[in-house]
Symmetry: C2
Subunit: 542 residues, 2 copies
């Protein structure tokens, strides 16, 4: 027997409808590419989103056709979030930091029909325009007057002229909530990029759970600054959760330097900000140099990579801002865990509380976690055992868009590619990437743990631990080290430095000194390149 | 094109699974019918809920068969919430305050197969047992040893013996999220009771939206005391939201007096309590008499009927507890609005802020509101115009269980039977019941407004305003008044008292003095009986 409740599909259009009716005068403030500050309300946003929907209808785009963006965080991008998905098309946010060849590959794979871009990215669009045959319309996110005379992009139109000509009267269509709403490609380190294809249902459930007090805790009293880009997994869903709660939205545009971000936080009385550690490092450096204080910021969510303890301490103790560690993936919409404390942690002494805060946190309702060993068997939640982290839930990917081969799921669980521990309270901590963990004699060694010990030696500037084939143990760890200028630390001294700091069998078998360790564009160590560099290396005694 | 996210139906079993895995040691504390305090954890609750599911399977109950309860708020009732719904049956919470004849009618209408009851309610069960032929099993919520020797109920078994014999190994079944999960009958003032039949989907969405910061704001750091009964629209969904967030649950059992509730709040460090004004009145009276203070309570949600300003002030100013006015209906699962303030209200002077706090509040995400005139036309949101309040959303009823006649919806909107205003910020305020509002010359007069003015006169003990047929104006208001002992206020004096306090045409045409105004069991004025009493009354000059 079915229940007798009303049937309303969970659609992205319901977010903007709700924001308009119940929080019509709440503000959306954007630093524009043009440099100035633009401000309007959810009521305006709703009207402009309907204009976008009409404008797209005018292009005769079919249901589920892709509209791509190359854009900063701002109100026009937000209008596309609601106008594109709300009208039944798929919003495809492109990452402008990728190489134009990668962007070309992605646009062709997604078969984007429209490409909307901030003028900042005109050089990219020029470089790819001739190689993306599915794109029928190029739209520059600017006024008609700002359109370059000879843009080099065929048939380029201005967003304001295109959308401004459309009516703001529009009935949002009602359709299956499982319909695709938006997509985001991961920039995998190996192979071609792969796309997560989100649905209206997954987006709405993620927005609801993400706004809960133990997740991002969003209310109509918040002014939210998503520094995390709208092309990074929909800015962690913040635009959707903000519309759902009527929170004020503040967008930084392209200005992510410490001074610009600080000024925006103060001018707009931001209470909650979200971003990656790098941006917060720039903000803190600026504040320290100028002796500044926050007058409104209460909490910040940090994700994308692990947050250094010093940053958590600085925010907490110096500036009175609560730092929430969070973890997720493109394949997870992205929220998986947030490190909000339980009552029992509030009574802990500071150093023990910090140990909890350094974990990636506990599940947002809807996400289930487990860790498994090499044979797929469940490992205990004791904060010590570590294994492959698996996740499931209604906003977690089941298969990649146009993915080749079988579904990545294992018994319904998505393998994250991370290795983690989970403690008895459900707090998860990433210890390594699955491909970097060293498998020695049936036991796993975290390459990050081995590196952290070496990094604590005063003569070490950088350290990378990788596994080397071993006939008896399968793999054994070695540590590749870059010395600090003038430092003279040697192999035996460094290996002796490990004594007492870790189990005997987790101490590396050897040290290799290098001039430099290969780094990627975002500063991450590229272990695949390091392995290639050391392909002729042999472990001692073999 | 569909999205490529995992397919997980929204099921009530996912709540208890999540609570067990991620908040296994969070507590559930109950004052039992036996008088003592019982405490265990979500881990225990999950195991016992699985035992309930196995025990029900053992009775050969089909999918969607009804299991009824006559029970106070406590852990056994909670086990039935999860075990009955989670296993695919429908939990039917009966209101023990109804007359046994009404309960009999309801049990027969619902065709309940099992009836579980606290021993407090044995007299009711005895009185109805022979008249409810669909009930195949009677279960007393107690130990086998407590089972009365000659209960007078055929085949009566004890819950502990029944559930204790079942295994705690059970795989929660997966089924359509639109399946019925629970039901609740409204005790309508006219006609037979009618039932809302909730679904797993509606329950989960309601639990998510209800836990948001601007609704009930529930987190793992909360200790939640639902004083509102679990037989009143599932205790406003609190048991579900608590499991979803890992909040500690504290149940008062049958002891709702001020002293018992106060002691429980302090002993269990309750941070958040929810109930109707009557219970809070008893609590405040006890605290005032004994000079007590709260050490942990931060906020309380008050619903069920309008909260007097003096109570809001007492909680806020004397005890430092935030009072949130809320409004809902059995047909709405029940949450419709909660009166959490926006930033703009925080800056208002106290008396203006109080005006906002006295409103029933703004929409919880998912619920849409509108007010319409007699012709169904939308009325403005200006805080002045009032009309029939209509609602829609995924946890609002579409039709009654085994309802006769057409669906109650009007163009997809459920008519609440209330008359309300909505202001420009979306804050709704109930001004009257639709059946009580007086329609005079095409304009509406709020009977409550007319009564409030009379009640402000020092000689008036009670006042009820009703409409009387009028050949020209359709209806005109009169006011029925009970004088205070010794007071001598007369007709002309009272009518003169209205001058300057309301528009001329809203002043009643006449005053009728009575010894008493008919009251219902819960102390509400029964205007239908009053109209019957005054059936021979004629307006002056007619």
């Amino acid at each position: 027997m079915l229940g007798l409740m009303q049937n309303h599909p969970l659609l992205i259009s319901s977010l903007i409808r709700f924001a308009e009716r119940h929080h019509g005068d709440a503000e959306i403030v954007s630093r524009r590419v043009e440099g100035d500050i633009h401000r309007y309300t959810y009521r305006d946003l709703a009207a402009r989103s309907r204009q976008v929907a009409n404008a797209i209808d005018g292009l005769q785009l079919g249901f589920s056709e892709r509209v791509a963006t190359l854009a900063w965080n701002g109100y026009r991008h937000l209008e596309l979030y609601f106008g594109v998905s709300g009208s039944g098309r798929v919003l495809h946010t492109l990452n402008p930091r990728l190489h134009p060849d990668q962007i070309t590959w992605i646009v062709n794979h997604a078969e984007d029909a429209v490409l909307c871009f901030d003028l900042t990215f005109l050089p990219i669009v020029k470089a790819i325009a001739a190689r993306v045959p599915t794109v029928r319309h190029f739209v520059a996110l600017c006024d008609a007057a700002q359109l370059p005379a000879d843009s080099g992009v065929p048939g380029l139109i201005s967003y304001e002229a295109w959308v401004g000509a459309a009516s703001d009267r529009y009935e949002w269509p009602v359709f299956d909530e499982n319909s695709a709403s938006s997509m985001c490609y991961t920039s995998g380190t190996t192979g071609n990029p792969k796309a997560a294809l989100y649905s209206h249902r997954s987006t709405l459930l993620h927005a609801l759970a993400g706004a809960l007090p133990d997740a991002l805790c969003m209310s109509a009293r918040d002014a939210v600054l998503p520094v995390v880009p709208m092309f990074h997994v929909n800015a962690w869903g913040l635009p959707y959760s903000a519309a759902m709660t009527g929170a004020k939205l503040v967008f930084p545009g392209p200005a992510m330097d410490g001074k610009s971000v600080y000024e925006l936080i103060e001018a707009e009385q931001v209470s909650f900000a979200a971003g990656v550690p790098t941006v917060w490092q720039m903000l803190l450096a600026h504040m320290q140099a100028s002796g500044l204080r926050f007058s409104s910021l209460k909490r910040t969510v940090i994700g994308g990579s692990a947050c250094p303890p010093a940053m958590i301490t600085a925010f907490n103790e110096v500036y009175g801002v609560e730092v929430l560690h969070a973890w997720g993936m493109t394949e997870m919409s992205p929220l998986g865990t947030v490190c909000t404390l339980k009552n029992k942690h509030l009574e802990l002494p500071p150093e023990q509380q910090m140990k909890v805060r350094l974990k990636q946190g506990r599940s947002v309702f809807g996400v289930d976690l487990k860790i498994v060993d090499s044979d797929g068997r469940d490992l205990p939640w004791d904060g010590k055992a570590f294994g492959d982290l698996m996740v499931k839930g209604p906003w977690i990917l089941s298969e990649y868009y146009r993915g080749e081969g079988p579904s990545p799921l294992v018994d319904g669980w998505f393998p994250t590619g991370d290795v983690a521990t989970i403690d008895a309270d459900g707090y998860m901590q990433i210890t390594d990437r699955s491909k970097d963990v060293i498998k020695s004699g049936g036991e796993w060694i975290s390459s990050i743990d081995v590196e952290n010990i070496a990094m604590a030696h005063p003569g070490v500037a950088m350290a990378a631990c990788i596994g080397m084939k071993h006939p008896k143990w399968d793999e054994r760890p070695i540590i590749a080290v870059v010395r600090k200028p003038g430092a003279e630390v040697g192999r035996d001294e460094l290996l002796a430095f490990y004594e007492g700091k870790t189990a005997e069998w987790q101490i590396p078998d050897d040290v290799v000194f290098l001039e430099a360790i290969p780094l990627g564009g975002t500063g991450k160590m590229q272990k695949a390149k390091l392995r290639e560099l050391l392909k002729d290396y042999r472990l001692p005694g073999l």
